[in-house]
Amino acid sequence: MANFFPKSANTLPAKLLIILGVLTVTVVAGVTYYFTPKYTRVGYMPTQPVAYNHYLHAEQLGIDCRYCHTYVDQSGHANVPDAATCMNCHSYVKSDSPQLEPIRVSYETGEPVEWVRVHAMPDYVFFNHAVHVNRGVSCVDCHGNVNEMEVVWHDKPMSMAWCLDCHRNPEEHIRPLEHVYDLNWTPENAEAHAEWAREHVVSWNVNPPQSCSGCHR
């Protein structure tokens, strides 16, 4: 019986192994980026029924976050403002603008304005705004510089790994309480702030839960 296979077949297995190795590395790298919240959630910027511009209101007009998200420091849920809050000003300012039609309709008829939800936790996760906001964690740490966004987009991956990272090193994310709603605030010099933060994590006993009962119930 003669040789079934050509001589080149002898080097084939080595080549196959190399190809296989390269293939697995690319697939794993692709999955770790494209199939995780770093990609699937960051950058999600849906068009809202009313083109509300945070940059104009929060940054330029300097409206504080709590004017609209009134109960962020009292309830676990940071409420989206009701039509009445918008109409406080917009019954006078741009009271005929076509963009604000849905607000006016909602204000009269009582039908809610269907804002598209940008940041959403799965149903088995119970995130509480009040306890974060009152303990030194600012809006910017999770929502990014919303005050500079003309249309709100999903800035942080908000995966469990991301939350755990902050729960394990709270000292990197707390700031003096008075600056919580000042999204542009940056510490004068980083080391002093880092030292301050470590001291205050201890003095305020900021010990965020790392076990499941913290967020899952």
């Binding site: 296979f5 919240p37 995966s159 469990m160 790994a161």
Partner: protein, 506 residues
């Protein structure tokens, strides 16, 4: 005349002391491994003939039946996954039922294969050569059937991959303290190593098949009558050429390769022995690590391993006896082989019987009322019927093997081998269900009975096992004839048929 040649290799190099000449060791008549002094070509032709000839009618009938039976499991699992674990008979407090029993049953059967090829290889038991390939195939298919249950019995099958320590964006890891986590590693390692061991053992035989492909093609071409048959033959020839060609990895029988091969085979056997013992120990940890009375005993690991070997040899006997007569392999699987297997069944069966007795003694000796009750309840409680089936099948039926007459009556041996596996299934049933149903707080006691889905899903696994085993018989060599040849008398380089002793054994 040839002794001078030996002296050269005397360890300390000096001349052999003369006195050794007078010493004539008593010639203990060792029973031949291959009877009727069969030649190498006869052995090769006999084993390769099974693969190269046309599939006999009974093979097709068996294949169709086992595929149909296998579909029960597939349908059962689809309905289970779509609807929920509630379709099985599980309930509070018996949260584990037939699925776990079937898992331990199949993984137990699997262990005999590795035992024959590994442990008997280390013990230099030559008679293992004619049954180790079929036993290892049985191992791999049994592990496949076993693997279905731990995967599909979980509530959310689509998240079962969380059991593997893979990084996810949830950044949470599995728990290495859990025996189920150990199971994941144990069973997958066992499956992989058995497959490697089986494949490596098969490489020389595949090379032989590869080399015969051409001649077989030419012989079958003559018998081909119609044009269609001819084209089929050529296509079949191409398939077999590449199938055996690739799998044989270019093996050419070089003795330099044989020395590496022998070393690798020995090491794999050395590795598989502790592997077998550890895998069934870890499977027994699924029960022993729990604090249920009746489960939490330290006798479980050796008890489960003995039980596994016992049920494994039962299955080997159940499979090999019919094949032996169907394929006429009486000369290769001789009565000596059957005797050895029966004796091992007798030994392990008695060990398992001893373990049952020991459990009662330990429960009595430990004076823990919960433990004591668990075992009295096992023998006289709600599941007494299962307990006594177990005792009759596991402890009483192997005692027949004391008598050579029984061992020679192959019909009886075959029937007893089936009893062995029935008994072993009930042993796992009794352990799992009777301890769960009546444990610490009497208010939780409940009676467990399976549903029709349980029964069909389990019955289907025999179909799956048969399906793969028949494919194995059809495409791969049933016996490791390279090893058989190595243990035939004429394979010994120092053997000279013409000198004094006629049976030619040195």
């Amino acid at each position: 005349m040839n002794t001078t040649k030996d002296s050269q290799y005397h360890p300390d190099g000096g001349a052999r002391p003369a006195v050794l000449e007078e010493v004539r060791p008593a010639n203990m008549p060792r029973r031949p491994i291959v009877e009727n002094q069969r030649t190498f070509t006869w052995i090769t032709q006999k084993v390769c003939g099974i693969v190269e000839g046309r599939a006999p009618l009974w093979w097709w009938v068996a294949f169709v039946i086992s595929s149909m039976v296998a579909s029960f499991t597939v349908m059962g699992l689809v309905y289970l996954t779509a609807t929920g674990v509630g379709v099985w008979g599980l309930s509070h407090p018996v949260f584990w039922g037939w699925a776990i029993i079937n898992f331990v049953f199949w993984i137990g059967i699997g262990h005999a294969g590795t035992l024959i090829s590994a442990i008997l290889c280390l013990l230099k038991q030559k008679w293992r050569t004619s049954i180790n390939r079929a036993a290892e195939a049985m191992t791999i298919f049994a592990v496949m059937c076993a693997g279905i249950f731990p995967l599909f019995h979980v509530g959310r099958v689509w998240f079962a991959w969380w059991l593997f320590p893979l990084p996810t964006s949830n950044a949470i890891w599995p728990n290495f303290r859990s025996p189920l986590e150990w199971d994941v590693f144990a069973v997958s390692t066992y499956g992989t190593v058995s497959a490697l061991f089986w494949y490596m053992g098969m490489i020389p035989d595949l090379a032989t098949l590869r080399d015969r492909v051409r001649s077989v093609y030419e012989k079958r071409l003559e018998q081909a009558k119609s044009g269609f048959q001819r084209t089929f033959e050529t296509a079949y020839y191409q398939f077999r050429k590449y199938f055996y060609g690739i799998l044989a990895m270019g093996w050419r029988g070089s003795n330099r390769h044989w020395s590496n091969y022998e070393m690798a085979y020995l090491l794999l056997a050395g590795l598989s022995t502790p592997l077998v013992l550890s895998v069934h120990t870890i499977v027994s940890f699924d029960f022993a690590v729990a604090n249920l009375p009746g489960w939490h005993t330290t006798i479980f690991p050796p008890y489960f391993v003995a039980g596994a070997i016992f049920s494994g040899f039962g299955m080997v006997l159940t499979l090999m006896l019919p094949l032996r007569s169907l394929f006429g392999l009486q000369d290769l699987i001789t009565q000596y082989h059957i005797d050895c297997m029966c004796k091992i069944c007798l030994a392990t069966g008695s060990m398992v019987g001893y373990a049952y007795a020991m459990e009662f003694f330990i429960a009595w000796y430990g004076a823990n009322p919960y433990e004591g009750f668990a075992f009295v309840n096992r023998a006289f409680g709600q599941y007494a019927w299962a307990y006594w089936i177990m005792i009759t099948c596991n402890v009483i039926s192997p005692q027949f093997f004391w008598f050579a007459a029984a061992r020679r009556n192959l019909i009886l041996v075959w029937i007893l081998s089936i009893f062995i596996n029935v008994g072993m299934w009930f042993e796992r049933f009794v352990i799992t269900v009777s301890s769960l149903a009546n444990d610490f707080l009497p208010a939780n006691w409940n009676y467990y009975s399976p549903t029709i889905i349980d029964i069909f899903t389990f019955a289907g696994t025999f179909g799956i096992f048969g399906f793969f085993f028949l494919l194995f018989i059809r495409f791969l060599p049933l016996l490791a004839f390279a090893e058989i040849k190595a243990v035939t008398p004429q394979a010994d380089p120092h053997h000279h048929p013409e000198n004094g002793n006629d049976d030619g054994h040195k």
